[in-house]
């Protein structure tokens, strides 16, 4: 038996403070008292152990107002008038510091979010740095970006981000906004504020002018205050479709621009001539990467009926090899579920799957006693009408359906209010392109899955949202064009 001994990444690299204030106008400040219960300090918890990591401040409406006014002043007096070449240099500095402090940020991300250190170290952090590098290079080239000779920024951007890729979602929001000349007020997710607060320190280290980036930690109420603040010119939100809908209603009739990146229920389509072993890797990566907490997760496997047995056997064999456990162990593949709330939701939907007649399978797993954990699960015998085929579970749960022809695959793949991503597995190039044309999804992965790059635009069709992040297209959301 080849037992991998524990290989823990050390926590010592992170200098975690016992408590954090809000980052407004270049400094960490205390929040003002909130009305409802007067208590403004909350804790952020390690979902793998339920241990308290630090205290954070939840911003109230007065705090948000302070932040927006600081962002406005910075925009009017400093960042707006600044040349693109100088904005670029600040962003390059931030990118460099992120690279230098990558390990620290990766460990903190795993502690706060629950994702395996291998993923935060090898996927999240490199992409975070790369996003800042990429957009730094646009700051002084906006006239060449295809939006006219002198595209102007929008002003103050209010940005609300989710808990699944906390620092990466921050990078996707902050980098293009700043490159285009806007200033930002960013609200991290309630359960994952810590890397954003470390990012604030990095802004200080880079001597970023005060007020250009403001971080207001808090809950949904804080987010609402940011979105609804009249001083915000541009709103960007990544999160659930339900909240996205509320935001769209809230900005209706105002002059605020809005981009949304919401949920998904992507189909991962495997044809009989797929490169089988790589397709199995792609299925596994598609739904179990980041514990399935991925908006573009391949949560529906559409497998061609003629190869159903072969694919399922290979898939189960592979899933049985997944290592579930301590996120800080370098050999862990699947970490903790982010919160008790999310775990409850996953369980509710998995129970619905069973109740509706689908058949669950999980490999044997030793789940820890403390913390929030869910074993990787595959449901077979799923049909389109089942809740687990229609609703986003946002967890390590795969629903398997079958199809016979390419046209049927397209029909089933598109038969959803969502439209974020899709996967196609076949060795036949023309089939890939034929399907890609017909799939109503903003990102199509062929013979791969969950690949991201700062140069590659990402975003959804239909109720998965509107607007694109990444690439030249990603500038559009932050320019007055």
């Amino acid at each position: 038996m080849f037992e991998y001994a524990p290989a823990p990444e050390s926590r010592d690299v992170v200098d975690l403070k016992p408590s954090y204030g809000l980052f407004i106008d270049g400094e960490f400040v205390d929040g003002e008292d909130r009305e409802a219960d007067g208590a403004k300090i909350r804790t952020s918890v390690n979902p793998a152990t339920e241990e308290v990591l630090a205290e954070v401040t939840w911003a109230g409406p007065a705090d948000v107002d302070r932040a927006v006014r600081a962002a406005r002043r910075a925009y009017d007096e400093v960042w707006g008038p600044m040349s693109g070449r100088n904005r670029a240099k600040y962003l390059f500095r931030i990118a460099r510091i992120i690279q230098e402090r990558s390990r620290e940020l990766a460990v903190l991300e795993s502690l706060d979010n629950g994702k395996p250190i291998r993923e935060s170290r090898d996927v999240d952090l490199p992409l975070v740095a790369a996003h800042f590098f990429y957009y730094a290079g646009w700051a002084d080239k906006l006239s060449h970006a295809g939006f006219g000779p002198d595209p102007r920024p929008l002003g103050v951007a209010g940005q609300v981000i989710p808990w699944n890729f906390p620092l990466l979602m921050l990078a996707w929001k902050v980098a293009p906004a700043l490159a285009a000349g806007n200033t930002v007020v960013l609200k991290p997710a309630e359960t994952t504020p810590l890397t954003a607060l470390l990012f604030a320190q990095i802004c200080q280290q880079a001597d970023l002018p005060p007020g250009v980036v403001n971080i207001v930690t808090g809950d949904g109420e804080t987010g609402r205050a940011v979105v609804e603040h009249p001083g915000v010119d541009k709103v960007a939100f990544t999160g659930s479709t339900e909240v996205g809908r509320q935001i769209a209603r809230a900005v209706a009739g105002t002059r605020k621009r809005l981009t949304l990146e919401l949920g998904g229920k992507a189909a991962n389509i495997v044809f009989e001539d797929a490169p089988l072993d790589q397709a199995v890797e792609g299925i596994v990566n598609g739904i179990f990467f980041n514990q399935g907490h991925v908006c573009c997760a391949g949560s529906r496997l559409l497998v061609q009926e003629s190869v159903y047995d072969e694919v399922l056997d290979a898939l189960k064999r592979r899933v049985a090899r997944l290592r579930v456990g301590d996120p800080l162990d370098k050999n862990t593949d699947i970490g903790a579920i982010n919160s008790a709330t999310q775990l409850a939701r996953i369980r509710e939907l998995a129970d619905a799957g069973v109740a509706e007649g689908a058949e669950p399978w999980s490999p044997p797993c030793d789940l820890p006693d403390r913390g929030f954990w869910f074993a990787p699960t595959i449901f077979t015998g799923v049909s389109q009408s089942h809740r687990i085929a229609r609703e986003e579970i946002f967890g390590p749960v795969l629903s398997v359906l079958t199809f016979r022809t390419p046209a049927e695959a397209v029909e089933k793949a598109n038969n959803t209010p969502y439209g974020l991503s899709a996967g196609i597995w076949t060795e036949k190039g023309s089939r890939i392109l034929w399907l890609a044309d017909r799939l109503r999804a903003g990102v199509v992965w062929a013979n791969t899955f969950n690949r991201f790059d700062p140069t590659s635009p990402f975003g959804g069709y239909k109720e998965s949202g509107y607007g694109r992040e990444g690439g030249r297209h990603g500038l559009e959301a932050y320019l007055d064009v």
């Binding site: 080849f2 037992e3 991998y4 291998r118 089988l276 072993d277 790589q278 050999n331 060795e427 013979n447």
Partner: protein
């Protein structure tokens, strides 16, 4: 150790015997195997290479790797003296530590087999000989078979043959198949490794097909390389071969071994290979009867890493023998 042979459906087994009957059936079978996506395969291997194997796991892996080494010398300049020195090292890799295990085999040219056989007598270490006009294989079939028989007669209990790459790349699969069958027969009781020379096959699709072809023809082991061309063993190529042996056992019930050879120089490399074996074919292949390393300098790095774990300080070349 060779646990859990899966039950084989009879119909599946007889289907595969039919495969080698003609050029047409063999081609249809080999070209019908699933393709390998190069980028995906390389990414999977790269991800497995990030596994962190420390402390007890590392010690276990190092000792296993030593026991899997086919200690090799294949030079025109080989002499009895050189071969004797190598066999002494094979028996007792670390003169300062008797607890260090012996290697799996010694691998030499046919002309050196008698010397090696004498030197290894009573040790339990296997004696592998390359044969079939190694490394190019470019000689008439009768010559290649005579080469094989001579090595077996002189005392080799393992034969490493080379695949006929020219015929394979030209699509003459039946010719390649029948040659392997003939060499297998010439081996008698010796076990047969078929060297695919993956560096010359180039694509992973070819590696998959050549793996199946060799196994269908009776190979006991499939081996990546001769070590004599620029591109030798790599992690992704070995991954593809391990997938092939896994699938072959599922289809036929027969378990074939894998031997990466050439370019594996460090203990870190070797441990990565063991991880790939573990997470692809499974623990049934984590045994010297089913997995070998074709290497020469690897052994010394394994010994230095073993010493570091033992003593707590980094070792150096002065503390291992150069044979």
């Amino acid at each position: 150790m060779l646990a859990g042979m899966t039950a084989t459906p009879v119909s599946a087994q007889s289907d595969l015997t039919e495969v080698g009957r003609s050029e047409a059936t063999l081609r249809r079978f080999l070209h019908g195997l699933p393709g390998v996506d190069q980028v995906g395969a390389e990414q999977r291997a790269a991800m497995l290479a990030t596994r962190s194997i420390k402390t007890t796991a590392k010690a276990w892996a190092i000792d296993l790797a030593i026991r899997m080494v086919d200690l090799t010398t294949l030079e025109g300049a080989d002499t009895p003296g050189k071969v004797r020195a190598l066999t002494a090292k094979a028996r007792r890799p670390d003169p300062t530590d008797p607890s260090c295990p012996a290697v799996a085999a010694v691998c030499v040219y046919p002309s050196m087999v008698p010397v090696a056989a004498e030197a290894l007598r009573g040790s339990g270490i296997h004696l592998a000989s390359v044969a079939t006009a190694f490394p190019s294989g470019q000689a008439p079939l009768e010559v290649r078979l005579a080469d094989t028989r001579a090595a077996v007669a002189a005392g080799a209990d393992e034969i490493d043959m080379v695949l006929n790459r020219g015929a394979f790349l030209a699509g003459r699969y039946l010719e390649v198949f029948e040659e392997i069958v003939a060499v297998r027969a010439a081996c008698g009781d010796a076990h047969l490794k078929v060297i695919l020379e993956t560096g010359e096959l180039v694509t992973y699709d070819n590696v998959r097909r050549a793996s199946w072809l060799a196994m269908l023809a009776g190979a006991d082991f499939i081996k990546t390389s001769t070590g004599k061309v620029p591109v030798a063993a790599t992690l992704p190529v070995t991954l593809v071969m391990l997938e092939a042996v896994r699938d072959f056992r599922a289809a036929t019930g027969r378990q074939v071994g894998v031997k990466p050879a050439g370019g594996i120089r460090t203990a870190k490399d070797a441990i990565r290979y063991l991880v790939v074996v573990n997470e692809t074919a499974g623990e049934d292949w984590l045994h010297p009867d089913r997995f070998r390393f074709g290497a020469s300098s690897l052994l010394n790095d394994l010994l230095m890493q073993r010493n570091r774990l033992r003593t707590g300080v980094y070792s150096g070349p002065d503390y291992v023998t150069l044979d």
